[in-house]
Amino acid sequence: MASKTININLKIWRQKNANSKGSMETYKLDNVSTDSSFLEMLDQLNEQLVNERKEPIAFDHDCREGICGMCSLYINGEAHGPDRAVTTCQLHMRKFKDGETIYVEPWRAKAFPVIKDLVVDRSAFDRIQQAGGFVSVNTSGRTMDANAIPIGKAEADKAFEAATCIGCGACVASCKNASAMLFVSAKVSQLALLPQGQVEAQQRVLNMVKQMDEEGFGNCTNTGACAVECPKEISLENIARMNREYLKAMVSAE
């Protein structure tokens, strides 16, 4: 396969640490293979920076196969770049033109403070999960086999679709209100749809929404930007389901 290379200009957010101000810096990078992923392109840029004895750019990444949710990046005005249903590690340089200027910024949200350069602190998501995104299971040795409870295929599929959320934060980054509704609703839904999740359903949704509000995420205005930019294509149906669950719990929980 004939490999093609492009030359690009990059405008990247640089910020020394959480307390410093930060600014957009311009870089030029030549001979970028169109077959390389966006993260590989950043590796190439960092190699260039190291060779120039400059500080490399800090960015999050882990599995590089689209499943861990670590890579973030707001590329050319969109979470995970212009492609749909992919994380940044799955975004390829063939999506960009020769000579193009590419903007790279971290997720912008009060609840996701910048740690350094393009790395943000997403522990707010962890705290929301800890507030109720689980089922309490007795592990005394008499644990019941999960498959002992029959679950309809359609329901199981819906729960699985919600469970594919990797918690990357693209929904928050894309939302004009920096709202975490898609993430929280996916986490509420994956359990609300299954019989094992029914036991703690009411307290779960109340606690998770409470934590979401306390973290400083914005409110949902149903623009639908989150679902469009979600690498796992989590549906807005989940937000509606959470709204139903919360309404039920709000009026009936003791």
Partner: protein
Amino acid sequence: MSKSGIFTSSLAKKYWMALTGLFLITFLVGHLLGNMQLITKTGEEGRRAFNEYAYFMGHNIFIKILAYVTYFSILAHACIGLYLAVQNKKARPKNYAYNRPGTNSSTPSRYMAILGTIILVFIVTHMANFWWKQKVAETVPLHYVENTTDMQIGQDPMTGAPVTRKITIKSALTTNGNYLEVAAKDVESGNSQELVKTQDTELIDMNTNLHKAEGVRDLHTVVMNFFGHTEQGGKANDLALVAVILYVISMFVLMFHLWHGFGSAFQSLGLNHRKYNGLIRFVGQAFAIVVPFLFAIIPVVIYLRR
């Protein structure tokens, strides 16, 4: 009740926005049907129908309750909406240097707060122009009609021909649906005589000082004059064209607000179902176009008929 709070949590605020928004949508339908009388009926018949309708709307207990729910809904929708908008701004203290929101969301959906604020300004001026005058300041005059007739006052002694004078009789429309003669005026001499005293909307007998009837206010003429029409008398608004243009622009803003708001209310209440989503979107977007369009043609037609 858990500590979640029916006012404080982000989701509860959305329920209030959705419920008040949906109520205001139903209000729009009623308001539109009432207002359409301004252009579907003409002449004294149209004027009378509209003023009697306005009187009914102001005095029916069921309508009064609905009116208070409407005031509450407007205030709650505006206050909670502005509060949410401030919170949402705070949730992203630093904006992106380069952003392309148009790739993932519709334009109206991103400008609901600004559209809503413009609509609020419209509602305030709209109420100051009509509602305030009718209900609070009570400066809307009564519904009068004047009829000039040749009244026979005697006979010519030579020829025996009837002698007539032109007399103008001024009558007020009353709440029981009759016209009550309130004044008579001799056209030639200009002499006039009051037959009934008016105190606010009350019509009082000159001789006995007893209540005779209650008059109906002439909101129809106030509206007509406001948009440049003078057929029923009164002074036409010099800025009628400006009023018409601002009104039409406001209805465009309302269209964009409803375009997103109608369907959004259902989603906020958790009413999202694959079977009905298409229907909700279709009805919502059709409503967003048809209702503001019909509202907008009312002042345009009044202006063109001036």
